[in-house]
Chain length 346, copies 2
């Protein structure tokens, strides 16, 4: 097997290069590592590089990095984006943007295991990545490994409490406002919100946007129209049933996510309430396999996964290439709008 033979042949060593170039190993090491004050004549340096090329000697990563000034790779630490079928477009957006600038994304998926995160950062620092993106599957506050402070870094779909890292996250408040205003614009004034019990930015932000839209349009906030439940189909079903069995039931519901909206579809079907004729619904996530498949298809908001991935890489490259531009300002805390996807549930 040619492959086996080749892979078992010893790769050329520094010694081989030294022999071929007629110099000492120290000289090769200095040339490869571009030790500027070693005083090696240009002609000798050229001979060493020639031997390296001829033998196919692979100078180590750091040496290459020094020679080209950069290693042209971006580290990407994710909790579980690569393994769960929810936010893969974050990686796609980062990857497409990186490749456009001739960078590779080097990804480690840690399952949010702290030890693995630590090891991943260490390994990336040793391998001299140009910078690191630290990303989470859903918008949340994080405490990234300390090593992240040693290189240019951007947080993606997450942030630190003190804002000491640049960050990009979805604009949850605006999204809550857009969803609610969309319903108001279609004549609804009795609008419920099915919220989530998890104390995460999406929960607080969307509720805040909902309230602010009502206030802006002079609709009094009725706390009994907000129900928090576990954010899956059964939770949506329970909240939907409770809201729709009231004599003064809402004519529209803005749901924390599409799965909860799916539960409301079930509750409405049971109660014989027609969507959208008697009940308008807006979901969130534009979740594949759910939003477009419900009957009627669900109007919802999409998370800007791809766009956040793009932004994170663009900003990281700016930090790497033009550090002075950002030296005298606090790290940017960027938010991205969640687009409304109009279907047939309103």
């Amino acid at each position: 097997m040619a492959s086996r033979k080749r892979s078992r042949n010893k790769p050329p060593s520094m010694k081989d290069v030294a022999r071929a170039a007629g110099v000492s190993q120290t000289t090769v090491s200095f040339v490869v590592n571009q030790v500027a004050d070693a005083g090696i004549p240009a002609e000798t340096q050229e001979r060493v590089w020639e031997a390296i090329r001829e033998l196919g000697y692979r100078p180590n990563a750091i040496a290459r990095g020094l020679r080209n000034r950069r290693t042209h790779t971006i580290g990407f630490i994710s909790d579980e984006i690569a393994t769960t079928p929810f936010a893969g477009q974050i990686i796609q957006g980062a990857q497409d943007t990186a490749w456009q600038f001739e960078r590779l994304i080097l990804l480690v998926n840690t399952g949010a295991n702290k030890q693995m995160e630590q090891a991943a950062v260490e390994m990336m620092l040793e391998r001299q990545v140009d910078g690191i993106i630290y990303a989470t599957m859903y918008h949340r506050q994080v405490t990234p490994p300390e090593g992240l402070r040693e290189v240019p870094a951007v947080l993606l779909d997450c942030y630190v409490a003190d804002g000491s890292f640049p960050s990009v996250v979805p604009d949850e408040v605006n999204a809550g406002r857009v969803a609610t205003e969309y319903l108001i614009a279609r004549g609804h004034t009795r609008i419920a919100h099915i919220s989530n019990v998890d104390p995460i930015p999406a929960t607080h932000g969307r509720l805040e946007g909902y309230k602010s839209a009502l206030a802006d349009h002079g609709i009094p906030f009725d706390v009994s129209l907000v129900r928090a439940e576990v954010s899956d189909v059964p939770g949506g079903y329970r909240a939907g049933l409770a809201l729709l069995q009231r004599s003064d039931r809402p004519t529209a519901i803005f749901c924390f996510n599409d799965r909860m909206a799916m539960g409301v579809y079930q509750a409405a079907a049971e109660l014989g309430i027609a969507i959208p004729q008697e009940l308008a619904l807006v979901g969130f996530d534009n979740q594949e396999g759910i939003a477009a498949r419900l009957r009627p298809p669900l109007t919802t908001l999409a998370l800007p996964h791809y766009e956040m991935g793009q932004w994170a890489v663009n900003h990281l490259l700016a930090l790497i290439e033009q550090p002075d531009t950002f030296a005298n300002q606090p790290p940017i805390q960027h938010t991205i709008t969640c687009p409304l996807i109009e279907r047939a549930s309103v």
Copy 2:
């Protein structure tokens, strides 16, 4: 901002280490790179390592690799596993297994872009990964980049025509046989197969398994009961309609995948044919969001994504740690069984 200051301080250099240890840079370089024949006294070596630790000097990756003999990272090149919501469990299985052996998976998702694949392999070789896994989102024949032959490598969910790389893929033929025998065991003899038009191993293998199960049970193969269609819901619907409108319609259908089975549900509903009472169905993929959600829930086969990820890492580590064990045999071509998931459609 403490973080900014730190990231802009120059990291300690080899020169700093040399000064602190009271030796020349050459000596530091030899110690770090463990040049065995440089004749540096053990006491001096220890002093250099002490200075390295005190200053927090980061010897480069290759040096560390040499010192620890290995870099303890495994390269993982994927086409689009990390970005599409289908086969993420491949990564999960690989990651869990690698971590169990204190290895990190370093992933590059290439979107099947040949140039990016090439760059990914080059980058991984430069960064001295212990070995590389080359993985695809679905079972297929591949032509991996040449560089893959320079290190221990395993193909995951794919293979090369000449078998010159070890490989792990799902056992498609067995799966087709299991699905068909499951239906035969429940009394069906008029069993159709809705196949896929793509000329891929899953198409051929599942059809072959279907035929062989029929033959084993003395049921004559009726070519009119096999229909190939585009492997999505509408294709399944068309094939289902064609099969179910016949006067001698089948009592059971083994579908190429769950999406096609979903199309058959629609066709059956239109024709007033009850599942499972009048028509038994077996799908494939156990696709999240479909198989368990259909009414009645779909009996199907699952792809062994997690298990293939596990096997690939285990085998790669064996190739790395015990190369002699595998030196005199052709690369292993391993298949893994697809488990049957019983639900209510049969």
